[in-house]
Each structure stands twice: as structure tokens, then as C-alpha cells.
Amino acid sequence: MNGTGPKLDDYRAVAPRGSVDFLLRIADRLRGRRVVQVSVSRYGGAPVEILNRIVPILNDLGIETSWEVLLGGTDFDATVGAVSKGLAGVEQVVTEVMLARLHATCASNARRLPLDADLVVTHDAPTLLLVDGRSPGGRWLWRYHGDLSSPQPQVWNALRPFVDKYDAAVFSAPRFAAPLATRRFVVAPSIDPLSERNRDMARSEQSRRLERLGVPADKPILLQVGPFDRLRDPLGVINAYRLVKMHYDVRLVLAGPSPASGGVLMEVQEAASHDPDITVVLLPPDPQTDLNTLERAATIVLQKPLFTDFGGDVAAAMWKGKPVIGSVAGGIPSQIVSTVTGYAVETVEGAGFRIRHLLGNPELIGRMGAAGREHIRRNFLITRHLGDYLALLAHLTGGPEGSRRGT
């Protein structure tokens, strides 16, 4: 691996047998196609994480891929925040003025950005309205990374006509899709096994980092990572831990970014103050190495949100060979193969029972962890994601010579 990030060849050691050569073959046939990806930012969020990885590799493969970013005015961020939450089903006040601002921003960016390509992919709500300025020729794809199954009606009614102007929309799972007149495809998210979050880590480095995080490795660790908010249900996780603690001497680690306001974190810290085996870790702004450390140190990983989108933390833990006990929210059930790689549970009591079952049958921990890693290797690595992108590119832009523009 060199300093500019992993090359496709670097994935041979971790991807399924034959898959890298296969990707090279597919790309050979699509060489010369042009793709433009458009997101609202280059920092933070699901689209950025995947575009950071996929765009350089696509270019290495000879598929000319650019990544453009919207430029917005001073109030644009607030508009984007409200519209995005509205689409995710969180009731918002979205005014006509805000929608007009979104439209105007997309219109001015459509004039500014070089959107002449075989395939234009816009990501999430902020870029959706760019399609209004599409020129004939290339195909347009709207990639929505969240859950669009129950959007705020007022927001959705205003935006849906624009989705239908696309050639297709792509969702992370069938259950996240909204009914549309245009075609709908499914591409599951992925993790990058060579990223800082998921790279191999020597035991010595892991021990050193764990100590720095203030997490003793003196007993089995139960871990949940994620923001300290009620939707992640950290208090439910503490209650599940307490059911287990009556029978097994374990440590619970709850790790997440420091929230803007106290809220649930204060309640979590209050609970931790009475129990030395509950450790709260406040993660720094770039927590990838710390997350890697904690997931590798964990015995069992919990992901028990009440509501989530795809829930990629599950795949990241499974890649590290950990059994995951997760709720049936969002995309979590599609990652956990219940009874094989972990358990999908619906209640605090279910989580407690399954943790106890694993701790009482430690051979299951290793077996489920190994099965989980293989499951991720075959279904949720970036190499599979690249294959899906290339397949979609081939499908939407026709055969190898068919729809190439400018030739």
C-alpha cells in the first residue's frame, strides 16, 4: 500500500478468492466511461466515506470519475439539515422559502458543475434537485443512503417529483425504498477492510491504545459504539448488561462522540458512577483508530438502536470476528445472520439473555465471530460494492460501446 490510499491490488489479501481479478475484467470493458459523483460535502457522512474510497479506485481502473461538491449560501446548511431530517421521517419545519433556497442552490450549481458524463450520481437530499438542469445524453442516478420508507409527507411531496426525473434511484436495502415512478435499485453499503477503522492491528498496539482510552482489559468486554442519544438506547444496553452482570463478571464499554448537550450522556455517566465496570469513552472527532481498538478488544459487540439507517457499525464489528447482538432496526437484521453470526433481538431482556448464552458457551463466541467475518467478506466489503457500481454503470449505460458519449 502506498501513501495515497489502498489500490485495488491491496485488497487481494482480504477479498474473496478471484474477486479482484474479476473486478479488473469488468472495468476493462467499461474503460473510458465517465462518471460524476456529487455530494453536499467532502467531510463526514455515509456518502463521503464511500466516495473517498471508490472514486480513486474507479479512476485507477480507467473509469474517469470526478467528485463534485455543492456550494451553498449561508443558510444552506440549515435548509439541508431540515430537509434531510424530514426525509428521514423526523418531523421538521420546512418552509417554502427553504425549499426555494434548495432549488436555487441546486440550479446555480447545475450551471457551475461539469455534469456532462455517462453517469451522474447525486447523493442524498441536498443534491437531489440538480436533476432539474440535466442535459440530454447521460444517465442520472439518485443515491439515497438513508431510510426513505416513512418521510415527512410535506417534504416528500415537494421533492418526489424531482426523483422521478432521474433514470433510477438507489437504496441501501429494499425496506428503505419509497414508492417511485422511476426504477429503483438496491446496493448495500460496505466497509473498507483496509481503512483505519478496520485495518489489522497488532496486539501490542491494541493494548497500548486501549490503555490510553482508559479501558482495562481485565475481563470480557461488552461494547456498544454510537452517539449518546435516546435512539441508540444506551440506557437499554446498561440494563441488558445488568441482567448479565448478575451471572458473569464483565465490563460494559459505551463509546461515542461527545454530544452537543448532556441529555442521555448525563444519565449514562450517572449509571457509570455507581459501577466501576461501566466505562464511558468519549471519542475524538476522528475516532477511527479508537473504534478499531475497542472493537478488537471487545468480546461481544452490541448494537441496540431503536432506529437507525443501515447501521454499518455492525459490519465493522463482524469484520473483526466479533459476534454481534443487534436490534431489528434499520439494516441491522440484514447484516446479522441470527444464530450464526450473532443474534437479532427486540428487547433488553432478549439482549441480556443472548449475552448470557454466549458467555456461557464461549466456543460459540469464536465460531460466530468467524462466521461473521466470512459473511462480511462475501457480502459487505468494498470490493463487492465496486462490483455493484460497475454492474450498475454497465446496466444503465448499455453495452461496452453502446452509450459511451462523445465517441
Binding site: 478471484g18 469488468i26 445472520v337 450464526v340 454492474a391 450498475l392 446496466h395
Partner: protein, 230 residues
Amino acid sequence: MTIDRLDSPAAPAHPPFVFQGCVHVCEMMPQEAHDTRELLESIKQVPAESIFCHTSALLVHRAPQPDAYPNDFALWADLELHDRRLAERLAAVDPFRLGSIEGVRAELVSTVEQHLQQLSGPPPHVGEPFRFLLYHVVPVQTGHEARTLREFRDALTEVDVSTLFFHIVDARYRLGRGRGDFAEWMDTVLGRPELAELLGHIDPYAGTLERVRDRHLIALNRALEEDGRA
């Protein structure tokens, strides 16, 4: 499932054997079923490729469960309808035995109809609806070719696992190419009818595609050992 020609058509059974893999584009159909009756109506309506996607093609995305249901309909009946009897009956619909997608559809319809007749009350409603999908197959040459049994074995060891799907499952069940491309080539090109028979009887639904690859390799290795002894 529809097919997008990214390369030349699938290699016909003449020398050499050209290994092709495939990638899939997963498209959502408008049909959704919220109970058993809607499932029945949708099974009757959707394109054959969608039936293929939820039955024969399940090998592409099946979970590593040794006792997993062999099709999405059975899994849904169990998990969402909580109707274990229907799940078990749907699980018994065997593409390997039926040989064609329309045959599979007919048996699914018959199974659900019979089950509905035996239901004493209204069909139960579900948590999550059954969402019908369809796979578009994009075939891609792997660059591997074989002219001899040994070359065939060596290539099969290395190719992307989708190659097995393309030459066994897609060829056999969607395209109706008899025993699948491997068995046909063994028989008609290498003149090995017994080996062809052996490969043609490997049940692709007995495990994951990697398991199917292993079972093929065991048969091929045994044949090569016997050749060495002869």
C-alpha cells in the same frame, strides 16, 4: 432476471471452456405482498426472472446458515407471517427437481393455494411485506479457459465464485441449459459422460457457492487421480 451483454454470449459447450462470471444489478419490482393471498397473486404476476431471483438465484446472497430456507418465500412465511407450516411447504419447492422457473412458479402457486384452502381464518398479516426483486445479470469473462480436465480443475480453483452461479444456476434454471455448462462440456467435449453425470447431480442448493465449488473440485480431483492411476 434479465441479462445485459457485457461480453460475448455465454460460452457454448465447445472447446475450450471459457469461464464467465457475472455481476448483478438488483432492481425492486412494484409488487409487495402483505399477506398470503397477496403473495399468491404477486407470484402469479411477476416476471419469471423475479421468481428466479427469490428461489434459484438465492445462492448469490444466501446467508451461511446450514439450515437456512432455500428460498425467500419460505423465509418470509416463517419470519414475517409466523406461519411455519407454509414456510416448510414452500421450502420443499425444489428448483433442482423442477428444472424450470415456470415449473417453480407453478409449484409455488399450487403450494400457497392449497395452504390457503386449509386455513381456517383470514390469512395473517405481516410485519414486513414481501418485496419482490429482480436481478439483472451482467456476464463478464474471467480470462480463464480450459482445454483439459486438469486445466478445468485449476481454473475452477481460482475463478470468482460468481462463475459457478453463471455456469450452473443461471445456465441450468434460467436459460434451461440441461445439466449446466460444466457437465455439458465434460460430456460433449471431453467425452466424460460419467464425470458429467456426477457434476450434473451436485445439488447447488446444498450450501453456499463456495461449498458447491468444493464439491466440484472433489469430483474433479478424484477423476484426475483415477486418470493418473490408469
